[in-house]
Structures are given as structure tokens and as C-alpha cells.
Symmetry: C2
Subunit: 327 residues, 2 copies
Amino acid sequence: MLESLDQIGEREILNRLKKFMPVGQIEDDTAQLNPFGKEILINTDVLVDGVHFSNETTSAEDIGWRAVATNISDLAASGVDQILGITVGLIAPPKTNWAWVNGVYKGINKALEKFGGKLIGGDCSCGNQKVLAITAIGTVGQLRLHRGNALDGDFLVASGPHGLSRLGLALLLNDPLTKNNEITYHLKSKAIQTHQRPIPPLKALQALLNCKPKDLPWRAAGTDSSDGLLEALHNLCSSSNCQAIIDPKNLPKDKNWPIGSQWDSWCLNGGEDFELILSLPPSWAQSLVKTLPSSQIIGIMQSGSPKIIWKDGKEIEKNHLLEFKHF
Amino acid sequence: MLESLDQIGEREILNRLKKFMPVGQIEDDTAQLNPFGKEILINTDVLVDGVHFSNETTSAEDIGWRAVATNISDLAASGVDQILGITVGLIAPPKTNWAWVNGVYKGINKALEKFGGKLIGGDCSCGNQKVLAITAIGTVGQLRLHRGNALDGDFLVASGPHGLSRLGLALLLNDPLTKNNEITYHLKSKAIQTHQRPIPPLKALQALLNCKPKDLPWRAAGTDSSDGLLEALHNLCSSSNCQAIIDPKNLPKDKNWPIGSQWDSWCLNGGEDFELILSLPPSWAQSLVKTLPSSQIIGIMQSGSPKIIWKDGKEIEKNHLLEFKHF
């Protein structure tokens, strides 16, 4: 019992916390309640200065925006049809400028204007470090997406390209890896925009709902890729007890994405991508990629103990499996 | 705009935040939504190490319990009839022992078993300082209590004694003020219990609902006294645009509470009392004090610009008006 959190690691911490919440959000990112026989989705995220944002790369308004986008992305990955509202718990050191707090709330409200929902309340307190704890609440539409709904034979679909946010961060930090002539001006500006003002995948969800072949039931598995593409696939596999077979030729990359292992790694594991990763019956998957130009089929699901493998049968390289670390 | 938060002060911070949440929790402590034409209450509270709890006085289990009790107390002060669930955002330094986290979640679940509701999810991250951000969700019963519903001529009722939690804290910190022969063993143990394992006023709310005279409509004002009795009265006055006239002979004290200005001050301003402070039509107030032995009438409401005055017309002393400072 005297192990420290960094010795245990994030995945094991979440695993141990599961016993405290038998029907909880830990497994599926979003919690749910059925107060009047109708389903309500609830999602809580914490953003910590130095872990999830920093003054170097993120303005106060961007932090507020990002906090809302992160949360709504989780609701989208559960099938939200209406975002009702959010509450905000804000902690800041006493010497923080009011301008920073004002900026955060401005960013929150700008994101809500864009994506729906209202700021309905919260709490604030002083502390040593800036923290935002956001809880978003919404209702569920026709399709309740779960991580655990994938089946053998499903196609895996990414709703958009991955790695852009990671590249945006690297550009903002003047990372030497970005001194690369292959990075077009257009890609740079898109990457920075994606990092600073991420867009939750509400349009992708809408496309998914609109394009379902009539003969199929409302069954699909999904999650968002806020912790990276591989982490999202890992979660689908683990919750659905399936194996994901990924085609390395079909990684979801921007059309101007450079070639190389570093770039593949950012695509697979960059994090903060806020796209949907879906496991769908083949005909639904094919219908989606026709409807949603940014989406693409990246692999298939098969029965077997949870893991991610390349199409040629090789295991995914260890350095690609580093999880997005919060501890 | 370059003022810092400690220069502005908590009340002004909350005031400025109001513009971002026109229908928000800031005014009434609890937010509400009407997703299906039925009202849902939502409350978010943050608890910060060194501000709201410390290792010296609060075990991990007590912190978890307190976090739940604080939140449910706010729901009770809004008229909750069913606690649906809570989400927990937990932040802790990487070197924190797992035993501490385990203890917090144990305390959370113990409190939920006692008061109702389930732990439905959350998030966790590392940070420099321990933080708990809790959001509780519930449904509203027959009576939606608001701070702003008080009317001229109402009686003011406290659902129980005040100052016990403050005394408990002083005892745990070996404050010299507690070296007082007047403090009975029974009072000591009750005070420490109240500080470590506070009970949200759900029974008081039930008594209030049960004892309403039939001829009265469902109109009452209320808040909880988690930030102290005077702060609760201030909030009722300010939201209802009324003046509270308090009888110093009828302060809500434990029957063994010592006499003296320090003790009056703890009663008025100790904080973390988790009782209901209600503004009720006289016949309802009289009915309540008969039904709920711990409750007592402490004054009346009258029209006028918001303030709190003693029965003899004197203003409340300045040193009693120190707010519970979070900044």
C-alpha cells in the first residue's frame, strides 16, 4: 500500500479506481444517468498547468476553449445529441492576474457558442497551481456509442487525420524536429490551429448517424482519440475483448504529412487529436468514408485477446506503445 | 486588468464571473438544467490541500467523505429529492501514496452509501498539490429552495447549531483557545466528529417538506451554512434584497456551548456548518421548530437594502463580517 502513484502508473491507477465505480466513467470516459428513464451523459476532465497546458503554448482563451472541446469530445464519442451545459471548477494562485481568469472564461464561452451548451455554474478557489475541472452534461441521441461494442469483422475508421496537434505543439515549442522543409506552410498553420483551438468531432458523429445503412441496427463502438490513436484503439480492444489489425499504409494522416518514423509516431501517439475512432459493420464504415471526406478505414477488428497488430502480423513496436502519461 | 485575484477578493471575483453565466450556480450555489421538462440540480465544488483540508486534521477517508458531504449539502439547500450520482476529478503529486487515493475513494463511497447516489466517474491527473473537484447531480422534489425567495415578514430558521466544526478544527490543531474547562468532553467529541464527518442537512430538508402548513404555497428561501452562518444570511439578504434582523440571544448554539465573544464569533463565522438557513412564513417556521428539535428561529426578514442587523438596531460588528476566504 506504500507504492506511490508514479510507481503504479496511470493505467493501473485507473484499473484500481474501477472497483469504486462499478458502472463508471473510467471504462467509457463518459458517465451516464437515467433519472427519468432517459439517458444523460456526464463527463469530468481536469486540466492542470504544466501537464495539459502551459503559458508558453496556450493563451488563457485557448485554455478555456480546449477545456470545453476536450469535454465535448468525450460526449461526442458517447453519442451526444444535445449539449446541455458545463460547470467549471477553477483553481489559481492568489497572484494570478484577473486578465487570465477573464480570458479562460471568454474562451469557455466562445467554445460553447460554437458547439452548444451553456456555462451553468462552478466553483473557484486559490491553490498553488492553475487547474480547470470541467463537467459537461448532455443527452444521448439514437446511437449510444460505447467502447465495448466492437465485434469481430468490424472495420476500424478514423474520422480525421492524427498527429496535427502534436506537430502544433512542437512548432510552438520550436522543437528542432520541425526544422524540416517538408512541412508546408499550410500544414504548419493547420497544426497550430488544431493544437490551440481543437474541434470536438460533432460533425463526424452527425455524419455517422446520417449514413447508417437502413438494414443495420444501432450498434457501433467508438471512442475519441484525445490520448492518441493507439490509446484509443487499445481502449476499444480492451473494452470489447478484440484485436485491432491496422494497415500501416492506411494511417490517418494529413495529405501533406511528411514521411518517416518520427511522423508515424506522432500520428499514432501524438495525442489531443479529438477525432472519433469507430468500429463499425463494413457497410456502415464504407458509407461513412463516402459521407465524411476526412475519414478513412484504417483496419479491422478480429476476435482474440486484446492487442493491436500490424496487418503483416508484427506486433506494434514498443516505442509506439508509450501511453500519454498523466503520472 | 492587471489586478491579481488576492487584490480583488473572493466576493468580487464571483461577481465578475456572473457575467459569464447568466443563469448560473454562482448566485445560488447549485446549477440547474431542464433536459426533459424536469429539473436536474448540479453542483461543483473544489477542495484544495492547505485551503480546505490538511493532513494534520483530515485523514484521506475524511477528505473523501467531506467532499461528498459539501456537495450534497448544496443540493439539499436547493431542495434535492434524489441524489443521482457524483463525478470526481482527482489531482495528486506523483509521489502521493496509493493508500491516500484509496482512502479518499473509500470515504467517498462511505458517504454515498450513507446519503445516497453513486460514484459514476471522473478523471485523474498529477499536479503539484492535492485537489478534489466533485460534481454532484440530483433531482428536485416538491420544493425548489432558492436564496432569492425570502420575503418581508419571514422568520429565519437555522436547522442546527453552528460553530461545532470550527471548534473541532481548533481542537485538532491544539489551539490554546480550546484549553477551556467549560468545554465538556461530550462537546469536544461532537465538535471533532462534525469537523471530520459532516452530515449534509437532508433530514432537515425532509422535516421542512413534511411540516408545511397546508394553506401555504411551496415558497421558501434557503441556503446552507458551509461558509458560515453570517455568510449564509448575507447571501439570503443579497439575493432576496432583504434585511435579516438577528436576535443575539437566539444564536444557534449547541446547548453546552461556552459563553464569550470568541465563541459567538465561531458560531457566527466558523464555517463548514452544513446546516440549512431558511427564510419561511412564520407558521411554517413554527411548525419546523416543533418537528425538528435541533432547529431554532434566529430572527426575521424585513424589506430594505441587503444587510444583517442585530435586533437592537446595531450593525453586526466588523470582525464578525470577515468572509470565509478562499483567496
